[in-house]
Amino acid sequence: MAAVVVLAIVGLLPLCLMVGSSLWVDGSLSSRNYVEVLGNARTWILFRNSLVLATLTTAVAGLAGVSLGILVARTDLPFSSSIAVVFSLPLLFPPYILAVGWFEILGRGGILARWIPIGETTSRWLFGLPGAVLVLGSAFLPIVLLLTITYLRGMNPSLEQAARLSAGWPAVLRRITIPLITPGILLSLVLVFLLSMGEFGAPAFLRIDVFPVASFTQSSAFYNFGAATAAAMPLIAVVLAGLLMIQRILHGRAYSFRWGGQSTLERIPLGRKKPIVLLAVVVLAAILVGVPLAGVLWRGSSVAALSDALQRAGESAIRSFVYAGLSATFLSVLGFFVAYLVYRRSVAGWWSVDALALFLFTLPGTVLGIGLIALWNHPSTNWIYATPAMLMIGFVAQYAALSSRIVLAGFSQMSPSLEEAAEVAGAGWFRRVFGILTPLVRPALLASWAVTFVFCLRDVALPLLLASPGRDTLTARTMTLMANGSSELIAALCLLAVLLALLPLGAIGIAWRLWRTPA
């Protein structure tokens, strides 16, 4: 129950207060903010821009992600695990790093412009819709890729084998496999759409006029929270529509195709096309991941740039690490109890807790940040607002869905009779939870910690809005320095952010392997 209260305080309350305060103008109830914002033609231009960007990003990420997912999970493509890891890398750091990387390649002073005099054209292309779609498409592609792989690997192999008895692989994929994993694909597409709609960092760097950037400007530059809330309303409406769609996708299906068996799926032989397909995949990985990271590395890896970055943002990097670590720990604990509640359906309205967590996850960080400011920015609560706890509250609200969903996946692998057996043996709730359930879902808890750590580390909007002065994070510091910092410094800061995400995850991966390997 405490988990529900925490989620309501950190997530629901700020949103309610935010809506309430947007309707309270000069001491009376008024719709002035809404009339002004929604009656303004620019609002709808921004909304259209956001919709177009999110739609194109979803199309690119969806097409590439599903194709790659099928290639990785179902064919005999060599190095498939490594390919999945490479394409998933952009999920580990904020999308603006890819934008900075492309800027070093395609910008006016970029690598390409040194050889071919087309810097003006490529720069215009990058700082426009095509560039934003390329950056966000490759940043969110891993979501589609990983969900496609997960759904494909969860499929009952005999469903495909039954079809293989009468048809070749193309027909089996078209008529059986892909329709069966359609809920997973649609779920990933809705998530990518919502995350693209709410993305702040990359569009801000690429100077794309979209809703989250405008919403952020309203709140941080003009301190007009009422107008910022009103401006956020179309985004909230889109998120709610998206969540309703997810609800329909996941629960509107009358069939189930998943199973818990051990038999491995037959790999589709690529035959003579294998080298060509591998080459195409490697080239795509190079374009979407390798080139922008190489751009950052090329510009920012000099000793001077790195030492400058460390000098100007070293403390921010440490704070990022600490805040993300503490938030991930709290999120894993909260996620455990929210997942337990959903798994056991132990309180009435358990689904609303899950829905609230998902709503907060898909809500743009700028909107959530404004809500949290509206709630906590008062003299009586300044003891929280003026501390790093504020930012961690934001992280908890935004990413509770991630931790709860991951731990829930762990719970769903377990038979309910395991806890029931302990109950029959006379174990109380405390012993059942900490003596039986916690050890069994330990891998899921570790995964939850690692994933939420990365998401807190890569967040841009919440640190920009919520980090107290002098206690910013690396992402917030980088975004601030982008206004007047040198290209070398910005690239070095991006490199630092990449290392900050990769090093602890690498350490966790090695520790996990050592722990799992029998002596």
């Binding site: 005999s158 084998q161 039954a162 293989r164 008895l165 009468s166 048809a167 069939y255 037959e266």
Partner: protein, 220 residues
């Protein structure tokens, strides 16, 4: 010419022999049960016949044609002209009963009229003609079983492979479906290869049994 033949087939998993030097022949129209305890390699034999696995050594022949030999599959499952009923039935949940049956016929390139006629006949035989527009999840266990049999038979296969299809049903339903299967066999005359660990099903369904023990077919 035998409908199905295995010649000195050998299959190992992780260094353990699941099937070793197994040879047998099944003639056209025969009802053969493959019987043995858990882990004796029954399902592996069936999966090698279907084309999902290749024998490490030995030869598999279907209709006199070599379809797999010595670690290689020469003829894929879709070209072996076999029907199969899986242990978990594997009915496609997103397709109606009619569409489940239509899949194989579409792959054969038959016209819509021929498909309709063929599906109508088979559904009538399994007494499910009124359920053609129903999704599998809305059918009872026995009805789902009959859809799986109808789907396996609709393409008029050379042989019907069944992998412990009745193991999850209650005794009354098992009896009913056994009788129904024997009726269908009498009407259509297909070759039946039926894997089971139940001696009762072995006696009822087969007119011949292959007993698998210690990875070998010790008795025919």
């Amino acid at each position: 010419m035998s409908a199905i033949e295995l010649q000195k087939v050998w299959k190992t998993y992780g260094g353990r022999s699941v099937v070793s030097h197994l040879s047998f022949r099944i003639e056209k129209g025969e009802r053969v049960t493959i019987h043995g305890p858990s882990g004796s390699g029954k399902t592996t034999v069936l999966r090698m016949l279907a084309g999902f696995l290749a024998p490490d050594e030995g030869v598999v022949l279907i209709g006199g044609q070599e379809v797999a030999a010595n670690g290689k599959i020469h003829v894929g499952p879709e070209h072996r002209n076999l029907g199969m009923v899986f242990q978990d039935l594997a009915l496609w949940p997103h397709l109606t009963v009619y569409q489940n049956l239509e899949f194989a016929l579409k792959a054969q390139g038959l016209t819509a009229d021929v498909r309709r006629q063929r599906i109508g006949e088979v559904l009538a035989r399994v007494r499910l003609d009124e359920f053609s527009g129903t999704y599998p999840a809305r059918l009872s266990g026995g009805q789902q079983q009959r859809v799986a049999i109808a789907r396996a038979l609709v393409a008029q296969p050379l042989a019907l492979l069944m992998d412990e299809p009745l193991s999850n049903l209650d005794d009354d339903l098992k009896d009913e479906l056994c009788t129904h299967l024997l009726d269908l066999h009498a009407q259509l005359g297909f070759t039946l290869v039926y894997v089971t660990h139940s001696k009762e099903e072995m006696r009822k369904i087969g007119n011949r049994a292959i007993l698998l023990k210690d990875a070998k077919g010790v008795s025919v």
